[in-house]
């Protein structure tokens, strides 16, 4: 059994109480940093991802999506990797996290739609951190990344 398929570090989500497996086979990432069901995370890192130096330890709410530019310069379109934006409910720190393969797509869409109603302050904070959130104009990118290129995109109400 590969070390990546061993499920070390399974945890119970502090927000939705679901038991979360850290098996690489399920998540597709080496370090799972949020619950795949509710997408909530915990404020554990301070300077860089995985340093575990934050003393805040409060819950982090998924508030939107952004795009990490891909490294492959031969891509047909300048599309990168879909990323989650988390905001700490206590200290309001923002962080960007990779999505996992088993993240619930419907919940991702819900978070994406809710991000259209961001306050001016949150938008300014995001820009201050160099984070460009995806908006209603990016629905095609989001849906195609989650469900495939030929998915029918629902009409925005």
């Amino acid at each position: 059994m590969s070390y990546r398929s061993a499920s070390f570090g399974d945890f119970r989500c502090a927000h939705c109480q679901a038991i979360v497996s850290c098996a690489h086979l399920l998540s597709g990432v080496n370090n799972r940093n949020h619950c795949p069901y509710c997408l909530w995370s915990c404020h554990l890192d301070l300077y860089v991802a995985g340093d575990r130096l934050s003393a805040c330890k409060a819950s982090m709410k998924p508030i939107g999506l952004t795009m990490k530019k891909g490294r492959n310069k031969y891509q047909r379109e300048a599309r990168g990797e879909l990323m989650l934006i988390h905001e700490c409910v206590e200290c309001k720190t923002l962080s960007i996290n990779r999505m996992a393969a088993d993240d619930d797509s419907e919940t991702v869409i819900t978070v994406f739609h809710e991000s259209f109603t961001w306050s001016q302050g949150l938008q300014a904070l995001c820009m201050q951190h160099g984070i460009v959130p995806l908006n209603a104009d990016d629905r095609e990118i989001v849906y195609s990344q989650l469900y495939g290129r030929h998915v029918e995109i629902p009409v925005l109400k």
């Binding site: 575990r52 130096l53 003393a55 805040c56 330890k57 200290c91």
Partner: protein, 297 residues
């Protein structure tokens, strides 16, 4: 020693030192790895011709202990050194890079033994290889620990270190390869210690140049105990509840949490220690060391 007994149950004969045959007069069982540690003051019977027998170990005013690393066995106390005045954790700026978590472990042990500590950072001549060291060292200076930077190659800081060691019994602790033996040679030439260069082939882990405990009389006054490069340094007789008191910068915050003395300083709301970390009064690295050490207890 009978093979059926636990090999950590030390049994020793107390015989008449002048007898021609080693007739056993009394046998005692001692639950220590070693009943006599370096630095102990003892009474002994002089048998002449450089021989003798220890009859009593006098009370210790201090000791530095660790759990004896015996996997699968009952844990025994190993007194590394007794009657010591100063703990000197030694780390190198580079080759190998300092493990600050290990330093915190040494400092906690010193605090638990109520011993002052002097942090010595060697290989100052390699400062170019470690750009973040000043910020790291400042963390400890802010807490109140004295830090001395030295180089056994250039001699920088050696005189200042000699002044700090003068008239005291000090113990050097640190991983192998950090330059403890070279440091000894620098502060007192002619000690004749065998110094081996750090084996680059072992990815900077270093060989155990020092293989046994040694105490040196210093020409300028005082004594120094060199210790083997210790890879295992567990905490002895320290409880989870006590640990925060052994981090001087955290001690004042203990009991100020929302849950008072019941707070585990982990995820509890209203934790004063976590609040102090967030406010920048406690280093996040020290807090992480605290949490890591706590997991062991």
């Amino acid at each position: 020693m009978p093979s059926s007994l636990n090999h950590k149950q030390l049994i020793y004969p107390t015989a008449d030192p002048t007898s021609l045959r080693h007739v056993v007069r009394e046998v005692r069982e001692i639950e220590h790895v070693d009943p006599i540690a370096i630095g102990d003051r003892v009474r002994y019977v002089d048998a002449g011709a450089g021989r003798g027998m220890i009859t009593e170990v006098l009370p210790r005013h201090s000791k530095l202990s660790r759990p004896a690393p015996v996997p699968g066995q009952r844990v025994f106390e190993q007194v590394i050194v007794s009657n010591v005045d100063l703990v000197v954790p030694v780390f190198s700026l580079a080759d190998p890079t300092p493990k600050w978590g290990l330093l915190d472990r040494y400092l906690v042990t010193a605090e638990a033994s109520r011993l002052p500590a002097l942090i010595v950072i060697t290989k100052l001549d390699l400062a170019g290889k470690n750009r973040s060291f000043e910020a790291d060292i400042e963390i400890y200076r802010r807490i109140g620990y004295p830090v001395q930077l030295v180089s056994s190659v250039t001699g920088d800081g050696i005189e200042q270190l000699k002044q700090s060691l003068q008239g005291r019994m000090s113990v050097l602790v640190g991983k192998s390869g950090v330059g403890k033996t070279s440091l000894l040679n620098a502060i007192q030439p002619g000690l004749g210690l065998r110094v081996k260069a750090v084996s680059q082939g072992e990815q900077g882990k270093g060989r155990h140049t020092t293989s046994h405990l040694e105490m040196f009389e210093l020409d300028f006054g005082g004594t120094l105990v060199d210790t083997p490069g210790m890879r295992e340094f567990g905490l002895w007789e320290i409880t989870s509840e006590d640990l925060a008191f052994l981090f001087p910068e955290m001690a004042d915050h203990v009991g100020q949490c929302k849950f008072g003395m019941s707070c585990r300083h982990d995820q509890e709301p209203g934790c004063a220690i976590r609040k102090a970390v967030m406010a920048g009064d406690i280093s996040p690295h020290r807090y992480k060391s605290y949490m890591n050490l706590k997991e062991e207890l």
